[in-house]
Symmetry: C2
Subunit: 166 residues, 2 copies
Amino acid sequence: MGTAPSHRASTGERLNTAETTGKLQQAMTGRGIRMTRQRRVILQVMDDAEQHLDVDQILERAQKIDSGVHLVTVYRTIDLLKKQGLIDELDLLHLRGDRHYYETHGPRDHIHVACLRCGKVREFESRLYEQLKEQIARDFHMKVTVSRTEVGGYCAECLQKKGSGE
Amino acid sequence: MGTAPSHRASTGERLNTAETTGKLQQAMTGRGIRMTRQRRVILQVMDDAEQHLDVDQILERAQKIDSGVHLVTVYRTIDLLKKQGLIDELDLLHLRGDRHYYETHGPRDHIHVACLRCGKVREFESRLYEQLKEQIARDFHMKVTVSRTEVGGYCAECLQKKGSGE
DNA sequence: ATAGATGCAAATATTTTGCCGCCAG
DNA sequence: CTGGCGGCAAAATATTTGCATCTAT
């Protein structure tokens, strides 16, 4: 629980455009949603996050900025953001319990690829994925609004360590 | 929750290879796993299921066959099956709470496509999906063992009902 | 001023665990 | 016979809700 897994995947890229621009905050006010002190903090945390966070991590970071933020408020704000379609929810194949993870909804969907042994999570983008979603929309005549893909397996390093077993 | 009275019609469509023998049961005994009365029942339920089931549905169906099956046992057996890689776990984008759903691991992965309005869930297979997984394996030099893709949106019928707005 | 947000605690929901008697192999 | 398995209740986790108070607009 409390301790962040800190698996720092090699998410090297995707640096912060995160100045205090507050993309989320902008989106929210733009939609006429009331902005409170705590919401501002939580939104900032999400905007600055370099990777997906779970609720406890969000709380932890938020409290570093403003200790007067409560877990319940995090849940409520996350919920709001979900409903507004501004963040995505993942569970990383339940690798670490049934916790949920959240991240700001980027311009392009990415796949989360997790190593079942070391827990490292990487992101992956592919035109193939976009095509797949298009194919679904076409075949079912539906409008696709959200999608989530999580892939698990054993990463190169772990395969090496074990030889090739498992 | 559940309704589905149950026993599958023996005329129902079955997926390929599975004879009435119980593919799961075979796999389990083949791996030297102890077979108990309750496990047999749960495995049968999973084998006969025409679609993904949640734990309560599994329990319900199991108890129709043998009332002496407990929820805890369902959890433990499901867990065992997961570890053996014989079933897949889904959560259908949390469409209906944080319940998990399970289904036997077929020969080919399929995508779950859910309508966010009417809740209907369809399955989708695609060559593109296989290619995508291959691409991931190649790019990351990893061995992909599980994958889950869930897509949400609005199905043709629901789009019609609403006119076409949105 | 006032609708809506937050804090706090208690309620829910879901899954896991400890312990002990019982059954499959 | 014996070690794993299932039942039962209680614990652990994760998230939601009721209500009084406070605050952004």
